[in-house]
């Protein structure tokens, strides 16, 4: 590459780089710096105190635990329902394209609006879900499950809203994956007299594996980062029952005004997320190993 080429390349990506340095690299630097200063005034250097506080705080572990439950629970249900939907649509029946369009609709709705809708449906006074369960005879009174204010159900309610909102993404990606599997594989299996179940286990699932891994990874990152839905539904309550790392950081910052502590929490959150993704990706892209 000539010198002028190098200069042109630099010209091409420097405006974008400028933006990212100003609004990502520099904030990250500030984040690290703030995390080393005290929370009250932000002027006194306290070293690793904020980190020690976080790592010894029960609330941090509670939020971390909730985040893990939320991510694993929501994403695995999304995967299962998404796979079922993709398989149903892949049969290509008349109207399957129309059904796919209908399934897409939650995807286009803002997470905040999704939260509002579910807050409405799960309300313990006038929510339609309880009234429906009551009519089916599954619960004794329409007020008997306090979806959003009972510690046992708060996190589950957030998961339900997230599952509704993002399962269509899972379905879409898996459907594209299934449609990409070569038809000759199925023909060969048919000649060998494979049953439907066998075709699914020995052809569809193994061929779909790379797609599943990528889709799950994307969803895991986004589920771990989610904030809007939880904020609208429960704000992390009651009694931190649905507190995720994201809502805990927001509360620490906006309610308790502890910038130093919030920064330390943020750094820990970033480290945890990036290392989990890193492990995932190393397994995915290491050419010496078999792909996952």
């Amino acid at each position: 590459m000539t010198k002028s080429d190098r200069r042109t390349a630099l010209l091409f990506f420097s405006p974008a780089a400028g933006f990212m340095i100003l609004f990502f690299v520099y904030p990250m630097f500030l984040l690290v710096r703030d995390s080393l200063f005290d929370s009250k005034t932000g002027t006194e250097f306290v070293g690793a105190d904020n980190y020690v506080n976080a790592l010894t705080s029960e609330r941090f572990y509670k939020s971390l635990y909730n985040t893990v439950i939320f991510v694993v629970g929501a994403v695995s249900i999304e995967l299962i329902i998404g796979l079922i939907l993709a398989l149903l649509l892949s049969t290509g029946f008349k109207g399957s394209n129309f059904a796919r369009t209908l399934f897409l609709s939650p995807l286009m709705i803002a997470p905040l609006v999704a939260g509002l809708i579910w807050k409405f449906m799960l309300n313990d006074q006038f929510g339609i879900l309880n009234s429906f369960l009551f009519k089916l005879g599954l619960i004794d009174s329409p007020q008997s499950i306090l979806w959003l204010s009972d510690e046992r159900y708060a996190l589950l309610s957030c998961m339900i809203a997230d599952i509704w909102l993002t399962t269509p993404f899972m379905m879409l990606v898996l459907l594209a994956g299934i449609q990409g599997i070569s038809g000759s594989l199925y023909e060969a299996a048919n000649i060998d007299g494979a049953s439907r179940m066998q075709r699914f286990w020995y052809i569809t699932l193994p061929s779909l594996k790379p797609v599943i891994v990528v889709a799950v990874l994307i969803r895991m990152i986004d589920a771990a980062r989610s904030f809007d839905i939880i904020w609208v539904l429960t704000q992390g309550g009651p009694n931190f029952a649905s507190s995720l790392l994201s809502t805990m950081i927001y509360n620490t910052m906006a309610r308790y005004n502890q910038a130093g502590y919030a920064s330390a929490l943020s750094i820990l959150f970033i480290i945890i997320l990036i290392s989990i993704c890193g492990i995932f990706m190393l397994r995915l892209w290491n050419p010496n190993k078999k792909a996952v």
Binding site: F19, A99, I117, A176
Partner: protein, 280 residues
């Protein structure tokens, strides 16, 4: 084919139809319920014996929402910040993607790694120091602040989408443009961008959605002047507000146009969502 096999086939395809139908109903129900609720009179909205359909259809909630919420202003703010940040980030992002796709360098690779890392960083983490920066620049509660932030959130995404697209274009295309006397930038603007229009459209749609749907940044960076719709909507939940009819009406106004539009352009949405995960 024997009669028995034929019968078995009809039964299983009926089952597929039935299951799909049930799932479609389950997935559509929440949104339909929202729309129906927005058409109910105020007392019915919070009735303890809720029904799906209103007993009387009324536009009351839609009329009332203008009194409770400066709808037009918030809507305008959302629209302006989303359009502006999409235009800037798609332009700068694809410029960068083109540079990275055509000239590989150490610096470029490092930059690429940075954009990938950004994808994994929780927004809430950077929001904390960003708030400080915006304040220092004197941009708190301005639309410019949101445009700047949305642009920088979207740029890494645009780069990743467009790099794949540019990599697929033959290099001869640039070279022939250069032979014809175009500068590098000229070749990019006159030849490469027009050819990449489908990719640009997909990318722009997703950038727009990211900005339009954002809640967190709007919540942290605005108070009255630059407030966006999602933040305005969330305020219905504050205090003891039982007048939820206007909230549902506003939520419908905010989401319905996007929903219809996205169904019209679903080809791009499907290709964008599956681009990253499924290799053609």
């Amino acid at each position: 084919m024997t009669a028995l096999m034929k019968q078995k086939r009809t039964v299983s395809s009926m089952l597929v139809l039935l299951l799909t139908g049930l799932f479609v109903l389950a997935f559509l129900f929440p949104y339909i319920y929202l729309v129906m609720t927005s058409l109910k009179p105020g007392t019915e909205v919070v009735s303890t014996t809720p029904t799906l359909f209103p007993t009387v259809f009324t536009m009351d909630s839609f009329r009332k929402m203008f009194d409770v919420l400066p709808m037009v202003k918030y809507f305008g703010n959302s629209f302006f910040t989303a359009i502006a940040s999409t235009s800037v980030s798609v332009f700068l992002g694809s410029l960068a993607a083109y540079g990275l796709s055509r000239f590989s360098s150490k610096l470029g690779n490092m930059f690429l790694l940075l954009t990938l890392t950004v994808r994994m960083v929780p927004l809430i983490s950077v929001a904390v120091p960003m708030y400080g920066i915006i304040n220092k620049l004197g941009l708190y509660d301005t639309k410019l602040a949101l445009v700047l932030i949305y642009t920088s959130i979207n740029i890494p995404f645009v780069i990743w989408m467009m790099i794949g697209f540019f990599d697929g274009l033959p290099k001869e295309l640039d070279e022939s443009a250069r032979v014809d006397g175009c500068s590098r930038l000229g070749a990019f603007l006159k030849i490469i961008l027009p050819v990449s229009l489908p990719g640009l459209a997909t990318t722009a749609i997703f950038s727009y959605m990211m900005s339009w749907n954002d809640f967190l940044m709007g919540l942290m960076m605005t108070s009255t002047n630059a407030k966006t719709m999602p933040v305005g909507l969330s305020e219905f939940l504050g205090a003891y507000n039982l007048d939820l009819g206007p909230m549902t009406a506003a939520a419908v106004c905010f989401s319905f146009p996007v929903l219809i539009f996205s169904i019209m352009i679903q080809k791009y949405i499907v290709s964008g969502m599956t681009m990253g995960a499924v290799k053609e």
